[in-house]
Assembly symmetry: C2
Homo-oligomer: 347 residues x 2
DNA sequence: CTGAAAGCGCTTACAG
DNA sequence: CTGAAAGCGCTTACAG
């Protein structure tokens, strides 16, 4: 009868608390708490006694009670835009490894559907008192701008607006990377290179800009053409279909990311054309997907694991009071040449 | 000076509590709590007053305090074995959608490295007082057997041992599915069909058994051969290499899953052989990866979204006191024929 | 080295 | 309909 409301028969047996451990070991609960924290001022024998008692009754700390009194959770909220994007897994693995190394927990939420759901998830994260937010995939969750503060700094893995307090970012240099893709195609002899873009996002903007600047640099500004797409398989398909349907179709497609490039490859095949015989295709991200044998996609490679590791290091470092080196870090991408690019037919 | 220990300059301004809301609205904190829960016995005007006050000062419930007094978290721990397996994303999306629909939160942890790390993650989950565990990917985390109880039921997405109390599972019928793969290949005229297996796991066991039974059923028991592999890209490569190096190499490979089949495709290419001209390859899972155009892998398709949805529904239902229909549910897989299978050379 | 007390932010009987 | 009090499981000064 220690618990009220047990008349439903569903009453869960409460888990053991430090009180139970204390009773078993014959000490006060303060001492149990101290011993469990390995505080130095507990007598060794007492500590052993307490630890044994805890072990025996299967004691396990209650994280909620701990968080309440500690006034912190050592938890960061990881917001993932697209679980299906193959870059997510590489990045997340690195993020979690680094967070764990620094003794931070991660709690992952998936966004990308509608803004309302994202706001709701974000709200839960904040009720949870996550100490920071790490956004994997080009942008913060909807509604996060107001939440970003000294209380809850954020790091975006991708480009983010400069000058916003408590908002950092780490990304590869997308403008440079897009230039690398164009350079490669121009070097092969292509001139009609179409860019299938990623819509309205900072990353898409940078890659588009890099493409346009590189085309101009090569004296191909007049031939530059951007077709709307998205970061998904489906967006790449749509974009490539539109591009290939033009009066004078391109000989090469530079697609905003590897996943969308999969869609582009499908569209090329559906148009009865061969890759790279009729059309060359370049992706972006350097994912494991691109490297799979039957695909062999030429792509602009980002150091995904390093990005993830550094994003987590940046955020956790901030929380631990380390002075951040730079709010917005930029890594160098590199072209990974495979089998979806070749000289154009006429060359 | 309301907080002690602020002399470091790092003191975080405490977030507003119901106490602050109460002060602002000029009521007691009990009433604030009640109003925030939409309890019916609060006077409408008082409620408005309180809600407005909460809004004004940016009040947000503290989940830890709530969990402590509610004695539950409405959170399930989702243990993911391999984030890189393309089936994970499909399943997770469905799991999270269903959990959210039932007003449960999910907290995802990634396992698969070493047993010690898995145990540590599991421990954190339990300190957290997750109300149940959902394992995505063939098995429970290491050390979870002892944790599974009325307090913390578990559902494995994949086959799990029968008769363990509070442990359920949902999977496709792997024995049947493996049979489907063999039937398809035999139907095309193949006889030398090698299975690249997944090592020591219940799912691998079932698929191996289904393969062996089907070979026997077709009178090919003497030709049956199982080569060790794993559920990863790399394991598939290794297995296929070994299989193709035999004195009388196979004309078809049935690989334990789609990801490993990617490795197998690479090994076939490295051996200078063509798919499906020289060797047919069948995977398992029916992932988006298999369906990507340049891959076109014939595979045994599982209803991934349905599996995820039902696994979450099963677990959350249990927590909500619903009587579970069946502890171990089995869905039917179906062959998805694409371009990596064809009649053998001699046929 | 050890214990009693206060308090983290909330909810819930219990009185009015 | 509203408020004072107790308590969820822990930690942390504060005394001894």
């Amino acid at each position: 009868m220690s618990q009220a409301g047990g008349d439903t028969g569903l009453e869960r047996p409460s888990r053991p608390t430090i009180r139970d451990v204390a009773a078993r070991a014959g000490v006060s609960k303060s001492l149990v708490s101290l011993a469990l924290q390995n505080a130095p001022r507990v007598a060794p024998e007492t500590r052993e006694l307490i630890l044994a008692a805890a072990e025996e009754i299967g004691y396990r700390r209650n994280a909620a009670a701990h968080a309440l009194v500690a006034r912190r959770t050592r938890t960061i909220g990881v917001f993932v835009l697209d679980l299906h994007n193959p870059m997510t897994a590489d990045v997340l693995d690195a993020v979690q490894a680094e967070a764990r190394r620094r003794d931070y927990r991660t709690i992952v939420v998936v966004g990308g559907e509608d803004a309302a759901a994202e706001r709701a998830e974000l709200e839960k994260l904040l009720e949870f008192r996550v100490e920071g937010i790490l956004a994997v995939g080009h942008r913060l969750p909807h509604g996060a701008e107001e939440a970003v503060s000294a209380d809850c700094p954020a790091v975006v893995l991708g480009s983010a607006p400069r000058g916003v307090p408590h908002l950092g970012s780490i990304s590869n240099d997308d403008v440079l990377g897009a230039g690398l893709a164009v350079d490669h195609l121009v070097g092969l002899g292509h001139r009609r290179i179409v860019h299938i873009d990623g819509g309205a996002s900072a990353v898409a903007d940078d890659r588009r800009r890099g493409y346009l600047e590189a085309m101009r640099r090569h004296g191909l500004g007049d031939l530059a053409a951007v077709v709307p797409g998205s970061f998904s398989d489906e967006g790449g398909y749509r974009g490539a279909r539109a591009a290939l349907g033009a009066d004078v179709p391109p000989t090469a497609l530079f697609v905003v990311n590897d996943l969308a490039a999969m869609g582009a490859l499908a569209a090329v095949a559906d148009a009865g054309l061969a890759v790279p015989g009729d059309v060359s295709v370049v992706g972006y991200d350097g994912t494991a997907l691109a490297g799979m044998r039957p695909i062999g996609l030429t792509t602009v490679g980002q150091p995904l694991a390093e990005l993830g590791m550094r994003a987590a290091a940046h955020l956790c470092g901030l929380l631990d009071g380390e002075a951040p080196a730079e709010a917005h870090a930029l890594l160098r991408p590199a072209l990974v040449e495979r089998r979806t690019t070749a000289p154009p037919v006429g060359a």
